[in-house]
Subunit: 298 residues, 2 copies
Amino acid sequence: MFDYKLLSALVTVVEQGGFERAAQVLGLSQSAVSQRIKLLEARVGQPVLLREVPPQATEIGRRLLNHVQQVRLLERDLQGQVPELDENRQPERLRIALNADSLSTWWGEAVAQFCADHQILLDHVVEDQAVGLKRMRAGDVAACVCAAERPLAGARSTFLGSMRYLALASPAFLARHFGDGVKADGLARAPAIVFGPDDYLQHRYLAALGIGEGFNFHLCPSSEGFVKLLLSDLGWGMVPELQVREELDSGRLVELQAGLRIDVPLYWHHWRNGGELLGQLTRHLARTAGKWLVPGPA
Amino acid sequence: MFDYKLLSALVTVVEQGGFERAAQVLGLSQSAVSQRIKLLEARVGQPVLLREVPPQATEIGRRLLNHVQQVRLLERDLQGQVPELDENRQPERLRIALNADSLSTWWGEAVAQFCADHQILLDHVVEDQAVGLKRMRAGDVAACVCAAERPLAGARSTFLGSMRYLALASPAFLARHFGDGVKADGLARAPAIVFGPDDYLQHRYLAALGIGEGFNFHLCPSSEGFVKLLLSDLGWGMVPELQVREELDSGRLVELQAGLRIDVPLYWHHWRNGGELLGQLTRHLARTAGKWLVPGPA
């Protein structure tokens, strides 16, 4: 079997963000922690950590971290049956990739009680909804929320519901750029706001209006910043309805064209052998996500 | 001189997120764009683009992009004097690294009018306030907002003001974990929320209370998600006062200890030879940032 003393040193250095704090948590000297990491690297024949501040796991390091996480989940199941195995049980860490818009809107409310009940700590990794599965394939996360339906080999996917996106701008922006109505040539010139290079929602909206060529845009990789830029009259953009109910009610943001919306389906992907905890979280999400997400298209 | 026809193909592919859209924007066939990129790579002797969807610039590619951006800023200055040089002037793109909390709060309002007046499109790159300078050093951005004062060689730094952070949690979280008052041993056990591996604000807060060892935390790399997790009773964490005025007024979030705050200074770093536009933006920010940021410590 692997030497879990060494693996646990790696996990602690990464979780605590440094050798000094890892040593405190493990009750070891800093040089003992460092020694364990070096021994681990000698065994796997390559670096597991980049010695940055804070230390970052290499690709092989991330695979080891993911393995330890899966082992911990299995241990947890066993502890449920044999509680005396580990008296000083630490809260479990679960690493989950999800799109920024979920994390900014419904996610916290959906998982809060579950985390408190099961003593779970969450490591959230933000990925655009189109690319979250990459993280799972890389062995970097235990589960992910993303727009792709097809599960990876060894994993399952569950439809949670769709996020509804509206094309919004401030009244001042609309007046400046679309004084005589929202038309195709104006839309191609008025600046849009795009979350990042993986965000094609604005392209899809324009395509639905028959606008295929390039357009001007600001890049803003922050959900809250995105809305702030809209409110500051900097551009138009696609925003989850969940995130801007108040701005819509007060009229601070308005739709470019009433009724033209994009629903993005969200799927929960998780490893099939991820242990009972992950199974419970899956059932919890499938049961509750409908409070925030709309039903179609699935 | 460099062949700007080739460089401009590179810039357009990256800005438009693909060869097909770049070809539309440049009015070329897709294979002509692809040919120009290959020629550029033959000249520099290594790949400038990773052929992913969307294409990503390699490190050398990013340096070329940054060079083109600087050249464009200089061209812009010249066009101010000789307007007939380029009739079909495109809006200028300015690539700026800043901390997520600035982008989520004051930044949009501070730059909106300036961008509209000068026809600028912004590419925001989010970096923790401690590491934004890395991006400048890598030649990846024209300017950055970060916590470090010392400018890079060839750059200048200007103090903008400080963001004030409060340690906050929901009343329900406080009641659950600190029924008999906020004390050191409780704080070490109650889960915190940490933005990412570069976020040491929670550590600094605990250190100020004499708590030096490790603590439990969720990771949440989203400013708005961070506040959502606080509101869902998942943990306590340091949040910019600017971001939660409403939650503080309504009592949905409360301070752990009244009066113990952390002020993080923010500096504007920009290349000295960045052209007149960057100089104007610098003066604009220095003049207006005080509306949102607190004066000390500088």
